[in-house]
């Protein structure tokens, strides 16, 4: 413990001196990598890890001699969990620092804030977090899961393998849970689930008093039918939520909770022994049994100097994004955004679970979907996984308004929201 603190302090010192040093050694012969993750404010808890992951990957790449004979130079900024600041910092990275690629953002709103800037200045953003879909920008590669790569398979698993008949959809009140729940509601109804067997509940960000809601869930679940909770509760609110679940004695055998935003990192903040058996759906778990994964974990522990640090899905998404970008730069022979973008399509790199990740023309990845059960040590035990990789769907098929829309950034379509019925790009035209 003490050692970890010491190393952290010395690392902090190193980073600052490094930051000061970097701005001096601002030479032409580097490829600049922007890192746009909040290091302070409410999102720092999740995003700081991703900043470290990118820095680790950059260091690793530089050890291998960089790219195209040039060293990679990370440029770290802190958008401080402030959404307008994300846009401002993006402009700073692209216009002032002239970075060739940006790894960053966590929340949907930060991505939405960055979007106009990155499109205007033709930058390149790798977005590593699972999200609600309904978007495909020419300048963004989405390496996290789309709803069809997380929510739908998880519900399928609960329905088929666990026999769940009654559903609680609990989420934080923002766009990702709203969309996911909407998709799930329509999916569940299509599978014959009665509206009375679905309970939807939204809570504010950082909600900390879960007594009433957990007790409602308990009540809802004691109606005789097998009940499960699908949780899209976000970030900070999860710890008090799970603590309350544990305290009120809701065990996984009675009412399993499957979460889409709870990974190893969130679990590391509390004692999971009362929560054994609750589930999460991701494209990666630290417990994945693959050599490449063990290498990655060792590398991470060496980099952080702390072998109790866990890895998680957004880290894998960052890893895949970075490897793909590096490979694309080599392939294109340049870090130029348009050339790299073209090189990305169809690009394949190994993922950390032993399979391959492919970048599709809609800027989303093909990934496997894994269901894990929480273990007493804060890890997940993988209990189920899809047979192969699932292709990320930018526009969900379960909502009427996006059913006919697809994204394809290769010729001849070359469009992020192409209406397959009217065969036009941008539904504006289609609506007429």
């Amino acid at each position: 413990m003490k050692k970890a603190v010491l190393t952290r302090a010395s690392k902090l010192f190193a980073v600052t001196t490094l930051a000061a040093g970097i701005s001096l050694a601002n030479a032409e012969d580097t490829i600049k990598v922007g890192v746009l993750h909040s290091l302070s404010g409410t999102m720092a808890i999740s995003e700081t890890t991703l900043k470290d992951t990118v820095l680790m990957m950059v260091a690793e790449q530089n050890k291998k001699g960089g790219l195209l004979g040039k060293k990679l130079e990370p440029v770290v900024v802190d958008p401080a969990s402030n959404w307008p600041l994300f846009a401002e910092k993006t402009r700073e990275l692209l216009a002032k620092e002239g970075v060739d690629v940006i790894f960053g953002c966590w929340t949907s709103v930060s991505r939405k804030s960055v979007l106009p800037v990155i499109e205007e200045l033709n930058g390149l953003l790798f977005y590593p977090v699972q999200y609600e879909g309904e978007e495909s920008s020419r300048n963004v590669f989405y390496t996290g899961a789309a709803p069809n790569q997380q929510a739908i398979p998880a519900v399928d698993y609960l329905m088929k393998e666990v026999g769940v008949k009654r559903w609680v959809l609990a989420g934080t009140d923002y766009v990702y849970p709203r969309t996911t729940n909407k998709i799930l509601e329509s999916y569940l109804k299509s599978k014959g689930v009665d509206a009375a067997d679905i309970m939807v509940n939204y809570t504010p960000f950082g909600h900390s008093d879960w007594q009433t809601i957990v007790s409602d869930i308990k009540g809802f679940g004691s109606a005789g039918k097998k009940t499960a909770v699908v949780s899209t509760v976000n970030g900070d609110a999860n710890v008090p939520f799970y603590k309350e679940l544990a305290n009120q004695g809701i065990s996984a055998e009675d009412i399993p909770v499957v979460a889409f935003s709870v990974g190893e990192e969130e679990l590391s903040g509390f004692d999971t022994s009362p929560l054994v058996g609750h589930l999460a759906a991701w494209n990666y778990f630290q417990s994945a049994d693959a050599d490449i994964n063990y290498d990655f974990i060792d590398q991470w522990h060496a980099y952080t100097g702390d072998d109790s640090r866990v890895t998680n899905d957004p880290m894998e998404a960052t890893y895949i994004g970075f490897s793909m970008w590096a490979k694309a730069v080599e392939k294109a022979g340049s870090a130029d955004v348009d050339k790299v973008r073209q090189a990305m399509y169809g690009m394949t790199v190994p993922n950390l679970t032993g399979g391959m990740a492919t970048m599709n023309a809609n800027h989303h990845l093909s990934k496997p979907v894994l269901i894990g059960e929480i273990q007493a040590d804060g890890q997940f035990d993988i209990v189920w996984q899809t047979d192969g990789e699932i292709k990320g769907d930018a526009w969900t098929d379960f909502l009427p308004e996006s059913k006919n829309i697809v994204a394809d950034w290769t010729a001849p379509i070359n469009c992020g929201n192409y209406n397959i019925v009217s065969k036009t790009c941008g539904s504006a035209v289609a609506a007429e």
């Binding site: 290091l39 402030n82 307008p84 402009r91 106009p116 766009v175 829309i405 539904s427 504006a428």
Partner: protein, 386 residues
């Protein structure tokens, strides 16, 4: 001298007496001309070129400066410490955001000509009544003033009549902005929830992404700041301003002199809220997003801090504070991403301890020293001549 001054009109008095204010207006006016000029006319390679990044950044500072003036007007002159002024700023911003959203028309991803994307997305069938009218620019601008103004009026009328003052007032203004933040976070409210309003296309038909529009917005912000300054100066330089100071220093004296303190407070509170609303409205098209986090109590506290750092009760101090703190924030978050909170926090502590009158408090002693130096130099010079 003051006897004569009071005979003159407030604006004349402003021009002759407010030396620092004149300097400030001059600086802003120069900025309003030079920055867009250098941005548009010089090519990117030129040394004289000012990047769009710098221009939008400065534009943001100008909006914050106007907001700081609004706060200084009530806090510096009337002693009303509002910990909820971010709410008025955000409401102005939302009014502008709603106009910009309506301007998107059918260019949203779903191509719905009536509803913004987030409403399509969340199954809204028709535009809620409170969105009506926001397709008109004039109506929206009216709302930029009226919505914050009305909220301030209702809130102020209640609070000032009941003589809520001091920390009690501060805390209930905080409760107000906190409640609004929670409300706007709710997707059911119809303001886009956490994502807020974003992905704007154009304003009055001008493309928001183009440098020309940005330059225009920058000039508009500079003009708004100058106008806001003059309005605030007219108020503070009039007898009304002296009544406000009287209320700040001794509320009961003002009452026993026969002044209806609540009317004065209400007036200046509403004016301040409207200024904040205008600042918010100009801020939104420049940063491209408005979201409930502008309602966060922390943001309102930050505004107070800009004013305190600059020096309260002078108006131009607020401007200096807003620009200074925000510049520090921009610089620190870029250059010292991991340490900037230490630096910013330290700045606040040191300012309070060593600069109780803010940064502008540094000026008179420096000035005096300069004068003394000049006098001495002149003296030496004279001796030399002799």
């Amino acid at each position: 001298m003051p006897v004569q001054a009071t005979h003159m009109g407030p604006i004349t008095r402003l021009l002759t007496q407010d030396k620092n204010g004149r300097r400030l207006l001059l600086v802003i006016a120069v900025l309003a001309i030079v920055v867009p000029f250098c941005n548009l006319l010089f090519p990117a390679e030129s040394v004289l070129h000012i990047s769009t990044y710098t221009m939008t950044l400065l534009g943001k500072y100008l909006c914050y400066a106007l907001l700081a003036i609004a706060v200084d007007l009530i806090w510096g002159y009337c002693g009303i410490l509002s910990l909820g002024h971010g709410a008025f700023f955000a409401l102005g911003g939302y009014a502008m955001g709603m106009y910009l959203m309506r301007q998107v028309g059918d260019r949203g991803v779903y191509g719905n000509p009536e509803l913004p994307d987030f409403m399509v997305f969340l199954n809204w069938q028709e535009l809620p009544w409170y969105w009506l009218g926001f397709d008109s620019f004039a109506f929206s601008m009216l709302m930029v003033l009226l919505v914050p103004g009305t909220l301030a009026f209702v809130f102020g009328a209640l609070a000032f009549r009941s003589r809520v003052s001091g920390v009690y007032l501060s805390i209930i203004t905080q409760a107000m902005t906190y409640a609004l933040m929670l409300a706007f976070f709710r997707n059911d409210m119809g303001f886009g929830g956490n994502n807020g309003l974003t992905d704007f296309k154009d304003i009055l038909g001008f493309d928001l992404q183009s440098d020309g529009t940005r330059a225009g917005l920058f000039i508009a912000s500079a003009l708004a700041l100058m106008l806001g300054y003059v309005i605030s100066r007219v108020i503070t330089a009039s007898k009304l301003g002296r009544v406000l100071v009287a209320i700040r220093d001794s509320e009961s004296r003002a009452r026993f002199l026969g002044y209806r303190v609540e009317h004065y407070k209400l007036f200046v509170f509403v004016v301040s809220a409207m200024l904040a609303g205008v600042a918010g409205a100009l801020y939104v098209p420049q940063v491209g997003i408005i979201n409930p986090s502008e309602f966060a109590p922390i943001f309102s506290i930050e505004i107070i801090i800009w004013v305190a750092v600059g020096g309260r009760g002078s108006l131009y101090g607020a401007v200096i504070g807003a620009v200074l703190v925000n510049y520090a924030k921009t610089w620190f978050t870029g250059a010292f991403a991991e340490l900037w909170l230490f630096l910013l926090g330290g700045l606040f502590v040191l300012t309070t301890l060593y600069l109780p009158r803010g940064v502008i408090g540094l000026w008179p002693p420096l000035q005096q020293r300069w004068h003394r130096y000049r006098q001495q130099r002149d003296l030496v010079h004279q001796e030399d001549c002799l």
